[in-house]
Structure formats: structure tokens, C-alpha cells
């Protein structure tokens, strides 16, 4: 059986339960040995901001989960450069070393994966 890769595009700001649930799918895929790429886009890039204190609003911080991704085999972590610029953000503000992807590259990137799931 040929193993299909899976790309998960995450787009919810971190205060939403949906943000955690997107990461959970990435981790589940990695646990099953599925080569998994992660592209942060739109408000999803806000998950990468350093200095979040989610406990202030009764949430658990996602930082630890994000930083654990490479350990669980999710190594291909990318961020949409356009979404970052739109929000005035730069790489220095990210808590993860995500590869910036230009808008023109995204179509080819989606093509590269067998399955694309947007969360």
C-alpha cells in the first residue's frame, strides 16, 4: 500500500478549541506513521505567536503541543507568508521554526500532497 501524505492547514486562532483539535489530527496522523505536513494560514498563523498566556482565559496553552510536533514526526511545518504580513508578523515572533511559503508556491504545495485537510 502506498502511503499517502497528509497536509493539514490550520486556520483558527489559539483561543478556539478548534485550534487544539487541528493539532490533535496532526499528531494522530503522525502516530499512524503518515507523513504529515502542516501549513499555518489565515488566522491559524496566530497560533504561532510567542508569549501567549492562555491560562488567563482558562485555556491550556498550545505552545507545548506545537513544539512537540517535530518530536512526533511532524517535521514539515510551514507558514503562509502572506497571512503573516497581513497581520504584521515576522518569523522572530514565532515559537516554531516554520518555513515561510509564498502565495505563488501554495498551489504547487497542495499538489504535492495526496490528501489535503483544512481544519
Amino acid at each position: 500500500m502506498t502511503m499517502k501524505s497528509l497536509l493539514i492547514i490550520s486556520r483558527h486562532p489559539p483561543a478556539r478549541q478548534a485550534a487544539r483539535e487541528a493539532l490533535d489530527l496532526a499528531l494522530a496522523a503522525a502516530a499512524f506513521g503518515v507523513p504529515t505536513g502542516l501549513l499555518f494560514m489565515d488566522d491559524g498563523v496566530l497560533q504561532l505567536l510567542k508569549g501567549q498566556d492562555a491560562a488567563q482565559i482558562g485555556r491550556k496553552s498550545l505552545a507545548a503541543n506545537l513544539q512537540a510536533l517535530p518530536m512526533f514526526g511532524v517535521e514539515d511545518i510551514m507558514v503562509c507568508q502572506h497571512s503573516m504580513s497581513e497581520r504584521g508578523l515576522g518569523a522572530a515572533q514565532c515559537l516554531l521554526d516554520a518555513r515561510p511559503v509564498q502565495s505563488a508556491e501554495i498551489a504547487a504545495l497542495l499538489d504535492h500532497y495526496d490528501q489535503v485537510v483544512t481544519l
Binding site: K4, L6, E21, D24, L25, A28, A31, V34, Q115
Partner: protein
């Protein structure tokens, strides 16, 4: 062809109906649905406790009838369901809750079931993103 269909939005979202219409069309076109997977707020569709006004459609009931009629594999993410208070008999007992609100034809299981469905389907389609 084998389709895996995931739904992420709840009964109040138009996606709950779009996904059902698409699933019905998959069967009508002579294809198979290898798995239906409910995640995020879509887990509420597996609850049997919702009460709709008589002149409004009951999308949760329509989903149940569709799955029963075609004997489909309908899986509800257990973690998402527990967080939102959608429990079957076993889970209600395990967590000491006063009632269960889901059961057959839906089955509570892990996210791995979605990963597995994505791997083996000819086409995977997600609704309610």
C-alpha cells in the same frame, strides 16, 4: 469508488445538510462510503436529545436514518464528543454521567479512524471546515 466523508460543523450549520446531500448522491451514483467521520461540533449530530419544532427538519434524525438504511460506518470522534457532552452508554457509565445521548448507528472512536479513512479512500471530502 470509495469516499471518506468528514463533517466538522454542527447541526445548526448548513454544512450538516450539504454533507448529507453529498453522501446521498455518492450512494445514488453507485459509489461507496467507506466511512463517515464527525469531528468538532459535528459530534452534536450524534446526539439523540435534540428536539426540533414540528415544521422544521431534524437533520440529526435524517443522518441516523441514512446511516441505518445503507449500513454505513459512522464514527464520532470520542475526544470531541466527550468535551461536548455527547456520550454513549459506556462513556456515561465510565464518567458517571446521568444519561447517555448517543449510540447505534454511531460509534465513538478515536481520530485514528479518520486518518485510516483518509489513507484508504479514493476520495476524501471534508464539510464544515
Amino acid at each position: 469508488m470509495k469516499f471518506a466523508i468528514a463533517l466538522l460543523a454542527g447541526p445548526q450549520d448548513p454544512a450538516a445538510r450539504s454533507a448529507l446531500c453529498f453522501a446521498q448522491a455518492v450512494i445514488a451514483e453507485g459509489h461507496q462510503i467507506s466511512r463517515l467521520f464527525l469531528y468538532r461540533d459535528a459530534v452534536h449530530l450524534a446526539s439523540t436529545l435534540g428536539v426540533q419544532p414540528q415544521d422544521e427538519s431534524d437533520i440529526a434524525a435524517e443522518w441516523r436514518q441514512f446511516i441505518e438504511k445503507h449500513e454505513l460506518d459512522g464514527v464520532v470522534c470520542i475526544a470531541a464528543a466527550l468535551r461536548r457532552g455527547v456520550l454513549d452508554e459506556d462513556e456515561a457509565k465510565r464518567w458517571d454521567r446521568p444519561t447517555a445521548n448517543t449510540g447505534a448507528p454511531w460509534e465513538l472512536s478515536g481520530l485514528g479512524q479518520w486518518v485510516d479513512a483518509l489513507q484508504s479512500a479514493d476520495r476524501a471530502v471534508t464539510f464544515g471546515t
